[in-house]
Structures are given as structure tokens and as C-alpha cells.
Symmetry: C2
Subunit: 129 residues, 2 copies
Amino acid sequence: MNQNLLWIEKLKFNEQGLIPAIAQDYRDGTVLMMAWMNYESIKKTLSTGEAHYWSRSRSQLWHKGATSGHIQKVKELFYDCDGDTILLKVDQIGDIACHTGARSCFFNAVQIYPQSNFLNSYSCSKRGQ
Amino acid sequence: MNQNLLWIEKLKFNEQGLIPAIAQDYRDGTVLMMAWMNYESIKKTLSTGEAHYWSRSRSQLWHKGATSGHIQKVKELFYDCDGDTILLKVDQIGDIACHTGARSCFFNAVQIYPQSNFLNSYSCSKRGQ
């Protein structure tokens, strides 16, 4: 095996042979999306310099942006301390990562209710039942 | 049910009842770690304003930083377009997210070999076998 690929052997793929991969804009740090990679998609990403994932819905290698043109040129690639997640810092072509046309897939914001606010709203809801 | 928690019903938990959660520094966008949440840990995170995960190794609710002091105060919480990943923007107390003492868990950088460089290094390796 190519010595340069030995690090892949350290990764902890799940029972489907997949590992989560976070794509982050290399310019401003925006988290763009999270998808899944397998061994083949990691090798393709390294050899082409463009993000390849494994499409769980289509059960096939997915060259991100092959159809839309919104490819991701990989500037840096990291794996985490326990080898079960990958982080890609990418140049997102078209500045659109999401299939909805949004820049980032993370556009659904949720309100946080620390301490008493949460309990109050929960109590109100319970009383309203 | 509290109307404020209805969004959780939209999430796609995996067969273990878990969903990946990315923690990102809310100040400079550094991706700090990726861990897993279940329904209970999401509710705890919302009610306390501090990140709670599900520890897969210990099979228990994990209040991040309860032992080390490196808690994560959640500033913003998002879920993605298809409801299968969460993003937390956090104030990382102590500026250390990783159990190794590193700021971020993503400290292992991998070299990328686009196009001919990759093929050349692969060929060299093959020849050396």
C-alpha cells in the first residue's frame, strides 16, 4: 500500500464502512454541510483534490457538484483525535453547498431556553393541555 | 408536548437513536469536535444552555466538561436541511474541547495529492514493493 494512505487504516468506519465528514468554508469558517465518506471516496478526494462522498440514499460514490457545478475544492483535510470524523476545509464553488440552494445546510435555527425560561414555557405548555 | 420542542420530532435519529452534533467556536468558527446526541441530551442542552451529548463508549448522558470544567455554553443551535445533523455554536470554556488537551479534536492534518502528484507517489510506492 502507498505509505501516504496508511492514515486511512487508523480511521474508525462505522458498520456500514462510513465515516462522517464535515465540510467547512476555508475562507470564513462557515460549516457548510455534513456528509459521509467511505474508503473509496476518501481516496478519490485525495487524488482529485475535490470532495467525494458516499451517497447513502443512492448507495453510490458522489462527486459533490458533478451535476450542479457546486464542487468543493479541498484545501485542507483533517481527522479527529479518535479517528472517527473527518474535517474538510474547502473552497465551495458557487458559494452554494446545500441542495436547497442555500450556502450552508445549517439554516434552521432553534431557540435555546436556558434555566427558568425553558421550565416556564414547559409548565405553560403542560397547563395548556 | 411543549410546542417549542416539536422541531426535535423532525430530526432523523439513526438506528441507535443518535444524531451527530458538530461543536463550533462561536467567536472564530473553529470546528472543535463532533459528538452524538440523543433526544434526552438535546433537551438537556436546550434547558441548561450547556452542551450535553450521548457518550457511546459509556452509554450514558455526557455533560461535556462536567469533570474537566471545559463546558460548552451554547450560543446558537441549528439543524441541517434534511434533519440529520446538529450544529452548536459554543463558547468553549477554557478554550479546550479535546480530551487530549488540544483546543480542537481536529489536529491531524493529511496531505492532499491532487492529480499527477498522487499518481506519481502511488506509482513510486508500487514500484518499491
